[in-house]
């Protein structure tokens, strides 16, 4: 039965690698300026992880094949070099591997988190709530009105709790159910949770960031391709979690300007 285990191990190793090698599960197209670094990192890691996985499974299969069903009294041998060589191998191989991955990976992380948005970045506020996203643009005055939690009134579509009667800055704020951004322009998203934790995930943008109640977080990105993409919530936020989504609509600058005008007119 040892031989059978070896064969099954071999089949499992190859079958597990097959979908990866043939690229059956391709990452969605990257439409961000920072995403290629993440994709590269995934590829490099896949190479190293794949190598470790196949190596270990095949050695396991080979040893199981070779050393089961041996006759009683057949000589026992010890691995040449013993434990010492294996410990050194683990430290050297895995050590360099994690150093390489660690150092390279930090660059991709730093691209997203350690750079400030350009001064002219388009500021949009994102509010996550059970179970929808709302986006707010400051309007022509460039100023966001203040949020008053007690004035939030979903029925009257006052999702942000604005007070246009007393707050001048709030009067021209544009609130939208989709995130509309111009192509190739940097966007700074000011993130705000109304109720519980949520998360903002756009696969094509290679961006995922939690909304944390009580924390004002921000992230920035530049979308490089016109189109409509799904924004989904990835932090368990209650019974409608699976259905909490919105669209990212990347438009040409011209279309974007028109959209802004339309919205302001309403």
């Amino acid at each position: 039965m040892g031989k059978l285990l070896a064969i099954v191990l071999l089949i499992i190793a190859l079958a597990s690698a097959y979908p990866i090698v043939t690229n059956m599960f391709e990452l969605p197209k990257d439409i961000s300026t920072h995403g290629h670094a993440i994709d590269e990192q995934i590829k490099d890691t896949m190479l190293e992880a794949g190598f470790s996985f196949l190596g270990a499974q095949l050695v396991l299969a080979f040893f199981v094949w070779s050393f089961t069903g041996r006759k009683e009294g057949s000589p026992l041998k010890n691995f040449p070099g013993g434990a010492r060589i294996l410990v050194i191998a683990a430290f050297v191989l895995v050590g360099t591997e994690i150093l390489a991955l660690g150092v390279m990976g930090q660059k991709a992380w730093a691209n997203v988190y350690f750079t400030s948005p350009a001064p002219g970045a388009l500021q949009v506020q994102a509010q996550a709530e059970q179970f929808a996203f709302y986006f707010r643009y400051p309007g022509p005055d460039g100023q966001f009105g203040t949020i008053h939690p007690e004035k939030i009134d979903e029925g009257n579509q006052n999702y942000f709790g604005l007070d246009p009667a007393n707050d001048v800055a709030a009067r021209d704020d544009i609130v939208s159910g989709q995130l509309v951004v111009p192509v190739n322009r940097e966007v700074q998203l000011l993130m705000h949770a109304k109720d519980v934790g949520h998360s903002f995930y756009v696969r094509e943008l290679r961006i995922q960031q939690d909304f944390v109640p009580g924390l004002d977080l921000s992230l920035h990105f530049t979308a490089t391709e016109i189109g409509k993409y799904e924004i989904v919530c990835t932090q368990l936020c209650g019974l409608g979690h699976y259905n909490m989504k919105a669209y990212l609509n990347v438009m040409s600058q011209e279309d974007y300007d028109n959209w802004q005008k339309e919205q302001s007119a309403q």
């Binding site: 969605p28 992880a49 199981v64 994690i98 992380w109 934790g197 696969r203």
Partner: protein, 608 residues
């Protein structure tokens, strides 16, 4: 003439006869009366079996819940007959609602992580075999031991109660992130009373685990038999000992976290709830708390918990592997030091669960590096196991199949950790099925393989009867192939961005991949059904199995030196004396190719 090889330590150690508590224990007579013998027993062996039984009940419940989830995911309109009896609101007409899906998910995770992965490899086997393997008559604190089981049992009852109250079980996942878990009724069904039951249950569980961990540590340090130096303890005992050190610190953090959560929910405090939240159109009457506090406390426990689940299984399969290789591992010490390093590092990595939580992005780098570093001791372990196979005479039986399967599974689940340890990749893969595949394989399935291996190996000692080997092997093949078929595709689906914790795949891009999910569901049903073979084997062999000899596997450690099942005080009032390292295999002994730890004969070829 008796020659003792390499055992100067025997003489150095003090005479345990002088330590009164041990002596007094076996002056007492075995307990009489049903309650003391089988229910509120102080005997570590009975308590071990009780833990095993509780884990068994939990694992089949948890599996049933996963079946319901898998069925609902791919056939959302499927009617599950009888489910409406359990929850009228959650499954009207037997059809699962979105919120009930989240209830199932929460209960599946909680049952499996706490009541299965912590109880089975650690509390159950540890309780039964740790005292025997070190030559003790019982745990250091038998009453604590009984209390720890019954507290855990109470925790289980409280948790299961959530299924039967009108409110239903909580819906916030096994991680119970605040503020969703802290605000009460406004958060949805199950969050008013169900969530409180969860908090109480886990707090009780923490108390039980703390008592158990203390007991394990005291027993290991104080009650070793004469000649049983620390380095002569079998690897399984080492793993339980290290695990209890981890558990002592981890559960000591989760317990206050649960208490704070309960206070937030019922005493009007605001540890985890900031100001200005509007939930269900109601401004919440809280201010000043931080949801990140819960995440830090939870994961400070949560990551070591992963190792609480996996380390005992590492020890168990090492113990079994040596026996089936018929020669010692390449190095006993390296395995022990690797497990210690894993335990130590497990406290420095909790932040990798929170890369995207809004904590300072610099700390992501600080958490990423130790996370990657854990790979080193883990790789050392795998290489030692693999290297030890070389040149062995591997005996194939159900126990060794699961031990070998453990190595395969641990590697398969472990390599995906490379991805998730890097914050830059985590940006893309966080909260996708990739993570689900990763932790199910490396923490869930691998750990359970250790439990299965341990069961097939030790069943004869625990019951005096052998398990059926044919059924055992059949069970292995179904489980091994089945779990690969279930959890490998999870990784692939994660790569395309399939988000977890969704009751339905509403995202447009998921349409072409529903077939894969159907495949996974079918595999989950079949693999789950395969576990019934195990259950049948357990019950059948308990009553009808072949009677077991004292030492059916020709093993060396102390548990095989006493009758099966062991008498009430383990060694029949005698004090075993230990002369050798635990794994004297591949030598010329009087009984075969091994020399038992308590045999005074000379070891001709020293293995280590």
């Amino acid at each position: 003439m008796v020659t003792i090889v390499g055992s100067a330590a025997v003489l150095e150690r003090g005479d345990p006869m002088a330590e009164g508590s041990v002596e007094q224990a076996h002056v007492q007579a075995p307990p009489e009366g049903f309650l003391r013998r089988y229910v509120f027993s102080l005997d570590h062996k009975v308590i071990g079996k009780q833990y095993y039984g509780l884990a068994l009940a939990s694992v089949f419940t948890g599996m049933l819940l996963s079946w319901l989830m898998r069925i609902h995911l791919v056939w959302p309109a499927a009617r599950i007959p009888g489910l409406e009896l359990l929850s009228k609101g959650g499954a009207p007409g037997g059809i699962i609602t979105p919120e009930y899906y989240l209830s199932l998910l929460t209960m599946h995770g909680t049952l499996m992580v706490f009541f299965v992965l912590t109880n089975a490899p650690f509390a159950a086997f540890g309780n039964y075999f740790l005292p025997i393997q070190i030559g003790a008559e019982d745990m250091a604190f038998p009453r604590f031991n009984m209390m720890s089981f019954w507290t855990t049992f109470a925790a289980w009852l409280v948790l299961m109660l959530a299924f039967f109250i009108p409110d239903g079980p909580p819906i916030s996942g096994w991680t119970s992130y605040a503020p969703l878990s802290a605000v009460g009724r406004d958060a949805g069904p199950g969050m008013e009373y169900g969530m409180s039951l969860w908090g109480i249950s886990i707090a009780l569980f923490c108390i039980g685990s703390l008592l158990g961990a203390l007991n394990f540590i005291a027993t290991t340090l104080d009650l070793r038999a004469r000649g049983m130096t620390l380095m002569r303890m079998p690897l399984s005992t080492w793993a339980w000992f290290i695990t209890s050190c981890i558990a002592l610190l981890a559960f000591a953090v989760l317990l206050p976290a649960c208490i704070l959560l309960i206070l937030d929910r019922h005493a009007g405090t605001s540890f985890f709830i900031p100001a200005g939240l509007v939930i269900s159109d109601r401004v919440q009457p809280h201010a000043g708390g931080s949801p990140l506090l819960w995440q830090h406390l939870f994961w400070f426990f949560g990551h070591p918990e992963v190792y609480i689940a996996i380390l005992p299984s590492m020890g168990i399969i090492s113990h079994i592997l040596v026996n089936s290789l018929r020669k010692p591992l390449l190095s006993h010490k390296v395995v022990i030091y690797s497990m210690m390093s894993i335990g130590f590092l497990s406290y420095m990595v909790w932040g990798h669960h929170m890369f995207l939580s809004g904590m300072n992005p610099t700390s992501a780098l600080a958490f990423s590096f130790p996370t990657l570093t854990i790979t080193i001791p883990a790789t050392v372990l795998v290489l030692i196991w693999l290297g030890s196979l070389y040149g062995a005479r591997i005996q194939i039986n159900s126990a060794s199949l699961f031990a070998l399967g453990f190595i395969s599974m641990f590697v398969a689940g472990g390599v995906s950790g490379f991805f998730l340890a890097q914050p830059s990749i985590d940006i893309y893969l966080h909260a996708t099925y990739f993570v689900v595949g990763h932790f199910h394989m490396v923490m869930g399935v691998a750990s359970l393989f250790g439990v299965f291996a341990g069961t097939y190996f030790w069943f004869s000692k625990m019951t005096g009867r052998m398990m059926d080997e044919t059924l055992g092997k059949l069970h292995f093949w179904i489980t091994f192939i089945g779990t690969y078929c279930i959890f490998m595709p999870f990784h692939y689906l994660g790569l395309i961005g399939n988000v977890r914790r969704y009751q339905s795949f509403v995202d447009d891009f998921m349409a072409p991949y529903i077939g894969w999910h159907k495949f996974i569901t079918v595999c989950a049903l079949l693999t789950g059904a395969g576990q019934l073979i195990f259950l049948y084997n357990l019950i059948y062999s308990r009553f009808k199995g072949k009677p077991a000899a004292e030492n059916p596997w020709n093993a060396t450690s102390l548990e095989w030196s006493i009758p099966s099942p062991p008498p009430w005080n383990n060694f029949g009032g005698k004090h075993p004396v230990v002369y050798h390292d635990p794994y004297q295999y591949g030598v010329k002994g009087s009984k075969g190719d091994f020399v038992m730890q308590d045999s005074p004969e000379q070891v001709i070829v020293s293995g280590d």
